[in-house]
Every structure is written in structure tokens, then in C-alpha cells.
Symmetry: C2
Subunit: 262 residues, 2 copies
């Protein structure tokens, strides 16, 4: 099954997921779709995000993808079930469930979650964690500026540390044992967040967990690739320099970027 | 001529312009359109922004507006001429020309300009200033995170000061005499930017200059209102709490927000 794996996000955030998949499954070809023209998703309505996500999955399946990874927490929170209904029989993964499974099993956790406004408002992490483990102590915060901090390259500056302090300095986050990075942009701030908590808190991000779940699912359905050469494609709904810059950072300078209007 | 004045922006930024117009022309009714579903404009293409701007102006004229103010630098930079062509005979103002006229007349200025990526890339301030005054010394920078800093309420924090220092601390901005705030979000950071420059630099923002130009133009065409009561309307392409919060900050808690899909 040498068909490609489709991965999509509103912009650059999902590249952290694509990179983790490439590392764990180097024999798989990837098609990454960044919906830059509608980025960011984090402040949009459920209806809008479902509409965009459906169009993107239709495009990826049209390219022959054998599986689709929603590499965006907001779209995972608001559009996953909708996509399953619209595309029955298609292997679709979201970035939330692997994290919930990993975190929810430890009953002693006090879990913090940071995410975009839309993901936070959806309450999806809270609901799924509670379902798995009703006694879990959970605190959440919407931290939308951290998306821009990453997109604009302010990682490891006074700007990132100031935003992290403002968002995570509140009392409710003080004694958490685990922090879920509920947005695919946030792994790029992981070290700073770890330092802010002085190593007392486990920081959980989705890229690696999602890559492992994808591997298990492909394996169980005998869908792993045996290709000798791989080819990655990068498609955006609108060319932006910010996307090209970040994609090259992850996948090398020779990467080619195509535009596809939704 | 008691018809309303239409004002639009991609989101909350243009409210600084609406507030300046309300202050100078308290007898005028306003219809403010925030294109929240497509916000931010700052990283989008010319074609996309023209398309959205045209739809919005069509909507505002359909509401009977006697004049339209493009309260967004990005749309002013990329869509003003297009809108003039599409709607001949309509009084359309942009937020750039009043600033260029004010700043460009002083030949001794070294002028700094900060704006979104799209406005900076368009080179519109530089071109128009040079046309007025070919010898002007001009330096520019794209400062997109400052939009999020304002949208997320990080004004007067380490985050805003860190971003201002990072963006404006470069050598080329050191000896500017004038700084143009080329984005309608930035007036909310004006005091901090003034402090950063230690009072040596004149900070020029568009809201007041635009309001005065609007008054002159309405006067010259005998379009000023003589209404005894005014009514302001606020319309967004998608309801967001961030917009509602900021609009209420400017126009009072009783403000009603309508949704209109473009």
C-alpha cells in the first residue's frame, strides 16, 4: 500500500505532526495540506470548520491518500465525527484521542490543557478525559496568542516567556502534574513551558503519540508502505512566505509548494 | 443627508477609526462591518482581499450608506483603487492617504512605518510618500504579532514591550523622527511605543486624520447629517466574543451585534 498519507492543518502547526510521522514512518509518502487562506481556525465556528475540513479531505482522497490525519486540534475537536460520517470506511485520525488515552489512564493526574479558543470552548479534551476517568482533576485555558508567537518566530524571547507567564501563571495551573499542549503549534514552545514549570510538570504533546497511533492502525490494516522511494507533497490554499519558511525548516530547503484553491 | 456612514475592517482594528469618527462627527450614524470570518487580512493575497472588500462595500451600500471608510490598512493598500473602479461615484476613503499627506509634507523627516505583512509588501506607504516627497528617508518593518497582542489584550505587558523592542529595536529605526502606525490595531499600543522611543519620535496614527478628512469631504459635498438622533449598527461576518468585547469597550455595553454572512 504505497499510497500517500494525507495530513492537514489550518497552517504550519500540523507540520510538527507531519515531522513526527516522517520520523517514525520514513517509508511513507505524505501529502500535507495547509489551509492558509482560512488560517487560523481557532476563532471560527463549528459549521465553518466542518465545511473547510470536508473540502480538504475530499481533495486528499482525490489524490489517492490511504489515510487522513487531522493535524489540527481545532478541526479535530469540531470536525472529526462529521468527517467520519461523510467518509465512511476511510481511515481518519485526530490529534486528540491519542493524547486523551495517554493522559486519562493515570488517575492521580491533575491535568492542565491549553488550546485555541475554539478547542477550549468545545470542551472536547475535558469531555473525553472525563469519559475515560471521571475523577480526573482538569483545568483549562485558551491561549490563542501562543499561535502567533510561534507563527512569527518569537520562540525563546521575552514575548514567548511573557505570554507563557501570563497564561500559565494563574493559580489554577500551579499544581498540575500534566499539561496537554492542545494545539499543534505549541510543541515548538515545549522547552520554555517545561522551564516555566521547573521540571515539575509533564508536558504532553500530540505529534509523537499520533504518529504511533497511525503506525498501529496502518499495521493492523496491512496498509504500511513498502516503497523504496518516498515523495512528500506540500499544498496550501494560498501561498504565504510564512508557510514556505516554516515548511522548509521542517522538511528541507528543496521542498516545493503547490497552491490549490478550495 | 442623514444616511449612515459605512466603516469596515477585517476585525476589531477599525473600531479605533469608528471611535474617532464618532467623536468628531457625533451627529452621524455609523454601520461598522467587521469581517471576522476572514480575519486577519494581513497575510492574505491581493485578489482575496479585493473580493472580500467588494462584497462588504456592496453590503454597506445596500444598507444606504452615503460614504464608505476602509478602516483597515491592508484593505486600503490592496483594494482601494479596485473599489473606486467598481463603485464609481461613491465616496470611498482609505486610511493611508490622510497619513501620507500629513507626514510627507515635512522634507526633514526620517519616517518609519510598521504594518502587517501584506501592507508592508504592497509598498503603498513608501510609494505614496515618495511621490509626494522623493527625498524622504523611509524605513519599514512588518510587525504582524502586534495585531494579536492587541486582539488578545496583551497591551501594557511584557509581551507587548518585548514585541515592540524586538520589532523596533533594530538600528534602522533608531533615529527616525516619525513613526507611522500602518495598521488600525496599533493606536492601542501608541503610548508604549512613544515610551520606547523616549518621546523623541512623533507617532502618527490614522483614526483622527481619517475622521478629519471624512468631515472635509462630507462638508464639501453637503453630505453632513442634521439628524437629532443617531443609531450605530455593528455587523460581523461571524460572531466572536473577542469582537463583542472590544466593540463594547469602544461603544458601550448596550451595543447590539448582528451577523451577516458574506
Amino acid at each position: 500500500m504505497n499510497q500517500p498519507i494525507g495530513i492537514f492543518d489550518s497552517g504550519v502547526g500540523g507540520l510538527t505532526v507531519a515531522a513526527a510521522i516522517q520520523k517514525l514512518l520514513p517509508q511513507e509518502s505524505l501529502i500535507y495540506f495547509g489551509d492558509t487562506i482560512h488560517s487560523p481556525y481557532g476563532d471560527k465556528s463549528e459549521e465553518t470548520i466542518r465545511f473547510y475540513a470536508e473540502e480538504i479531505v475530499r481533495f486528499l482522497l482525490g489524490q489517492g491518500c490511504k489515510a487522513v490525519v487531522i493535524a489540527c486540534n481545532t478541526a479535530s475537536a469540531l470536525a472529526f465525527e462529521h468527517l467520519q460520517e461523510q467518509f465512511p470506511g476511510t481511515l481518519i485520525l485526530n490529534v486528540i484521542d491519542p493524547v486523551v488515552e495517554y493522559v486519562g489512564s493515570n488517575i492521580n493526574n491533575k491535568v492542565g490543557i491549553i488550546a485555541t479558543r475554539a478547542t477550549t470552548k468545545s470542551g472536547v479534551y475535558r469531555k473525553r478525559l472525563r469519559k475515560l476517568n471521571p475523577k480526573l482533576n482538569i483545568v483549562t485555558a485558551a491561549t490563542p496568542l501562543l499561535v502567533g508567537v510561534v507563527e512569527e518566530g518569537f520562540v525563546n524571547t521575552k514575548v514567548s516567556s511573557g505570554a507563557i507567564e501570563a497564561y500559565l501563571g494563574s493559580k489554577k495551573f500551579q499544581d498540575i502534574s500534566t499539561l496537554i499542549l492542545g494545539c499543534t503549534h505549541f510543541p515548538l514552545l515545549q522547552k520554555e513551558i517545561e522551564q516555566f514549570f521547573g521540571g515539575r510538570t509533564e508536558i504532553v504533546d500530540s505529534p509523537e503519540l499520533v504518529a504511533h497511533q497511525l503506525k498501529r492502525l496502518l499495521q493492523s490494516q496491512a496498509l504500511l508502505s513498502s516503497a523504496e522511494t518516498v515523495e512528500h507533497q506540500f499544498v496550501v490554499s494560498e501561498y504565504t512566505e510564512a508557510f514556505a519558511r516554516t515548511a522548509r525548516m521542517f522538511f528541507g530547503a528543496r521542498l516545493e509548494l503547490k497552491e490549490h484553491l478550495l
